[in-house]
């Protein structure tokens, strides 16, 4: 299970966001270059269509693979009232044959992306990860060296935090609280809820860049 919020930011303000995050998280950023391959079950396989993501971390000297299943969001009146998405999520590290395996099992390529940017992994009442990345599409199959941005000039920001059915309320509160610190630069909300860029981003970014994050926003 995980808690998730997303937002977008103009590329020109990413440096300011990095300064802010560096101050808030207290850890160094890590570079991100992940090839995300989204597979869907073929027409006859399974009584319902299933999807699975294969993530190939290209930042490592030897690419490493992760299988990720993102499940349905928590439902109900309580879920609708909270501003953070709570959904099931399971990951598994896998050896390099994983794409071949899933193709052989009857899964087909639905789409693929290349995410390039950086992440912060830190603990702030809950374990959290902030990812800032450009989302790129490949013009040729699996050609990560020839990827182009899906939305030039815009990058995606995602905050995720692992949770359990026992503690998700606390994790939601931690994520929400953290998001408030980023509010001058960007608005974070449930995936699929479009919010656009915030009008205060330019001023906030200028402030951060002028004194390297010393100013309280």
């Amino acid at each position: 299970m995980e808690c998730v919020v997303q937002g977008i930011i103009e590329t020109q303000y990413v440096e300011a966001l990095e300064i802010l995050l560096q101050g808030l998280c207290g850890v160094n950023r890590e570079r991100l270059r992940v090839h995300e391959i989204c597979l869907k079950s073929g027409p006859n396989l399974g009584f319902v269509t299933s999807e699975v993501r294969l993530l190939c971390d290209l930042e490592q000297s030897e690419p490493t693979w992760t299988v990720k299943h993102v499940g349905g969001a928590m439902r109900g009146a309580g879920a609708e009232q909270i501003s953070v998405l709570v959904r099931s999520m399971v990951e598994s590290k896998a050896s390099k044959n994983v794409l071949r395996l899933f193709y052989s099992l009857g899964y087909k390529l639905d789409h693929e992306l290349l995410r390039v940017g950086f992440t912060f992994h830190f603990e702030r009442a809950a374990q959290m990860t902030v990812t800032v990345s450009s989302v790129n599409k490949m013009l040729k199959l699996h050609a990560t060296d020839e990827a182009v941005p899906v939305t030039p000039g815009i990058q995606m920001v995602e905050v995720t935090a692992p949770a359990t059915s026992e503690n998700y309320n606390e994790v939601v509160a931690s994520v929400s609280s953290f998001c408030e610190y980023l509010a001058p630069l960007l608005h974070l909300s449930k995936p699929g809820v479009s919010t656009g860029v915030v009008p205060t981003a330019a001023a906030a970014a200028a402030s951060l860049m002028s004194d390297g994050g010393g100013t309280t926003l």
Partner: protein, 246 residues
């Protein structure tokens, strides 16, 4: 044992008195019991095999268990089943409690993953567990060798379907470099077990690991492939006996 074999045997089991284990994965060979024509596997044979290990100074160390699961595709149209893998197998090994292995024997694919991959497969609902086999028994230390002798039983039954034996040589991870010593050990073993006049013998048929993209350096993926092949050989052996009866 003959005088010559006694000499070789002493050299084998005392090759390294401090039993230095390979810093990487020590290699192993998995054997399965092939009954003679007209006979079947039974628990008495399993007992005799275990006693034979102890008679050559194998020190019993504890229990072990591996599990092999056959997965079947969930299809909307069964007529299209030929489009999907004939054998999709999942394996858990005692030496890798946080890992799970998938093998597609006919596609020559082996995958190592975290155990959580089983939960992912459950959530996908595209493949489901059809039948599971447990390989379980005792393990023994014998100088630089570790032996595991085990019965093969369906997961919800005590019906003995087969007997397996793992021979692990601890100091070396190279398949090529270990060939001679493994063969010498097996000759000693054959000499010891043959004196019990059991109706069958242990067989090892080494899979072509390179077909699976596996190198000379031994890993748990090699073990997963061996268990897959041993299981298919066991099934063929059981079917041959049943055909003989009919």
């Amino acid at each position: 044992m003959s005088v010559v074999y006694c000499h070789i045997f002493r050299r084998l089991i005392s090759y390294n008195p401090y039993r230095k284990k390979s810093t990487t994965m020590p290699l192993k060979r998995v054997f399965f019991w092939q009954p003679n024509a007209g006979s079947t596997v039974n628990s008495q044979i399993l007992n005799e095999v275990s006693q034979c290990v102890e008679s050559i100074n194998g020190v019993k160390e504890g229990r072990w268990k591996a599990t092999l699961t056959f997965y079947k595709p969930m299809l909307r149209d069964q007529a299209l089943s030929a489009e999907f893998p004939r054998e999709f197998i999942g394996i858990s090994l005692p030496e890798q409690p946080n890992k799970y292995y998938f093998v597609l024997r006919f596609n020559k694919i082996v995958l190592e993953s975290d155990s959580s991959i089983q939960l992912i497969m459950e959530k996908l609902q595209s493949y489901k567990s059809r039948v599971a086999l447990n390989f379980e028994g005792f393990q023994y230390q014998l100088g630089d060798f570790q032996l595991r002798v085990g019965k093969v039983v369906p997961s919800h039954s005590e019906n003995l379907r087969g007997i397996v034996m793992e021979v692990e040589y601890l100091p070396i991870s190279s398949l090529e470099k270990s060939k001679q010593i493994m063969e010498e050990f097996f000759d000693i073993w054959q000499d010891a077990i043959s004196k019990r006049s059991l109706p069958g013998r242990f067989i090892h048929i080494e899979p072509d690991f390179s077909d699976y993209g596996l190198a000379d350096h031994y890993t748990s993926q090699h073990t997963a492939v061996q268990y897959t092949h041993v299981t298919s050989q066991l099934i063929a052996s059981v079917q041959a006996v049943q055909t003989g009866r009919n």
